[in-house]
């Protein structure tokens, strides 16, 4: 069988992830929720554990060697993150995650560079984390949100995008890959068009960075954000890339220790970026874990990861089509290893519960993208998403469980 031969050659990734040998509701776990958060390889778990056991101290403070060691590994993580997306390390700011990074740009760039009536272009497929920070700016300072519509196939309406620019447009904020339907947006073209209108671009890369090579220099984006936890690293840390000339114009987002040169009650002098934007003790162990995650996936090779996930996607789409009673939302390609679907009138949460009982972890709901749900006129979808550790047997388990849904809801799913 085609699937079996493919499975054997790809099985080796799974062994690095101890949790994937576990269970869900007493059945062997089938983890298909990596778009929500990825599982962690032993290498990442060990790196964090070793750091706390051997090298931990606060950074940028201690005069002692131990603090120097901790500082070095933290800054090595910044250098690794920079190399990973082809940036320089003084353009890499550690944040709490993608959400933290976008909020930083909204509050620091947005409040310093925009005025009431200025416009920000977003898209209908954004995650709430790339809508709500801009909506807050709308409430705080009266900026205007313009929205690029999504077409029936799940791609962006590029003609509409081009027509949204005006003399008041001050920023484009767009996701690289849809967290719901997997669409890979043509962000290079979108950035070129924005720049031809003198408008900077923020790219939400949370769903892209785990699945494909990202080169911010080649893209020429102004801001790029991603989270460690979707990249097989720990929770609590993420990255904001920003071009140096923006960082030097942006005021600090939060104030505290570690981001100042001198403080008196009359005058405060800030250090330069990136530390200007990292007030307080950061997630040092998180950076260590992120460094290990970047090393782990770099060893596998992003091209191999992409090839593997694309073959899983292709296999899953083929199997779902064969079922005949499952409708995929968002059919455009290229897409990342994310499939959103519905089964006629069977509610996504009923499907989710049935899959859960079969050991399968998927996401059912609005996926923090309520405008996109409204666009496709569905209250919720079921989403299966792939990581490097998934193999064809995971897809087969999903397909079998969907047949069970059909047996339990014979009329509704018809």
């Amino acid at each position: 069988m085609k699937s079996e031969t493919r499975t054997t050659e790809l099985k080796w990734f799974k062994k690095d992830f101890p949790l994937l040998g576990g269970t869900n509701r007493g059945k062997p776990l089938v983890y298909l929720d990596s778009a929500s958060s990825a599982q962690k390889p032993q290498q990442v778990i060990d790196a964090i554990s070793y750091f706390y056991g051997h090298d931990y101290a606060n950074i940028h403070r201690g005069i002692y060697e131990l603090s120097e060691r901790a500082t070095n590994v933290y800054e090595q993580a910044r250098e690794a993150a920079a190399r990973f997306i082809n940036a320089s390390s003084n353009e890499i700011i550690f944040t709490s995650g993608t959400t933290g990074a976008i909020n930083l740009v909204a509050q620091s760039f947005g409040r310093s560079q925009l005025q009431a009536g200025d416009e920000i272009i977003v898209t209908e497929m954004e995650h709430h984390s790339n809508i709500v920070p801009w909506y807050l700016l709308k409430e705080q300072m009266g900026i205007v949100l313009k929205v690029v519509p999504v077409l029936d196939d799940g791609s962006l309406d590029m003609l509409a995008y081009a027509s949204l620019f005006s003399s008041r447009t001050k920023l484009v904020a767009v996701t690289h890959v849809s967290n719901v339907i997997g669409t890979i947006n043509p962000i290079r073209d979108m950035i070129m068009l924005a720049h031809s209108n003198d408008v900077p671009v923020l790219v939400d890369g949370a769903q892209a960075v785990p699945h494909m090579n990202v080169d911010v220099a080649d893209l020429d984006c102004d801001f790029y954000t991603f989270s460690s936890h979707k990249l097989y690293g720990p929770t609590g840390i993420g990255v904001l890339y920003a071009k140096s000339h923006w960082l030097s114009q942006m005021p600090p987002y939060q104030g505290g220790g570690g981001m100042i040169e001198t403080v008196s009650f009359d005058e405060i002098i800030y250090v330069n970026a990136p530390h200007k934007f990292e007030a307080g003790t950061p997630d040092i162990a998180g950076a260590v874990g992120l460094l290990a995650a970047i090393q782990y996936i770099s060893n596998i090779g992003m091209q191999n990861i992409e090839k593997h996930e694309q073959s899983l996607l292709e296999y899953a789409e083929e199997k779902i089509h064969e079922l005949g009673f499952v409708q995929i939302i968002g059919t455009t390609h290229p897409k990342a290893g994310v499939i959103s679907f519905v089964m006629n009138d069977v509610h996504a949460h009923d499907i989710g519960t049935i899959l859960d009982a079969e050991g399968i972890a998927i996401r059912a709901g609005h996926h923090c993208a309520m405008p996109l749900m409204q666009r496709f006129n569905v209250p919720a979808t079921v989403r299966a998403s792939f990581g490097i550790y998934n193999d064809f047997s995971d897809v087969d388990a999903l397909i079998e469980a969907l047949k069970l849904v059909k047996r339990l809801f014979p009329d509704v799913a018809a």
Binding site: H347, H349, T353, P379, F409
Partner: protein, 146 residues
């Protein structure tokens, strides 16, 4: 607990063909409820006379568990005294959180015992009841399970 017990025929049937579905023009009480996590939304209408729920209907959309629960709820409370409706909700809530049924009080409603195994689904099964209770008590706040 098997899936067949959770999604047994009566639940699938009431989820697919809900009883007492629709608006109620002469309603003395009505209330909207929603479960923002799932997107489930429903409205409960009832006519109360002399402390008795003489008629009750609902409309809305949601998962099989929430629609079946609303449907079976309307069947169960019609003709009951308000205080008995409220105590029935207490029994029902206990069933969903402990899985132990007081069959005498609950009757058909005990088919929801399986929900107790799936704590995230308790909100689905109680949405209609919370909404009904708020309607009866004239609670002005809109009902949300979050």
């Amino acid at each position: 607990m098997s899936l067949r017990e959770l999604y047994q025929e009566m639940i699938i049937d009431h989820g697919r063909n809900p009883r007492n579905f629709g608006g109620l023009a002469q309603a003395t009480h009505c209330k909207n409820g929603q479960n923002p996590l799932c997107g489930d939304k429903l409205s409960v209408y009832l006519i109360e006379m002399d402390g008795v729920v003489v008629d009750v209907k609902f409309e809305g959309a949601g998962c099989a568990i929430s629609v079946a629960s609303a449907s079976l709820m309307t069947d169960a409370v019609k003709g009951k005294k308000v205080e008995d409706v409220l105590s029935l909700f207490q029994h029902f809530h206990e069933l969903l959180t402990t899985g132990k049924a007081n069959d005498e009080a609950l009757g058909k409603l005990s088919i929801f015992a399986g929900v107790a195994e799936f704590p995230v689904r308790v909100k689905c099964a109680t949405l209609a009841w919370h909404t009904l209770k708020a309607a009866i008590l004239h609670d002005d706040k809109s009902v949300s399970t979050e």
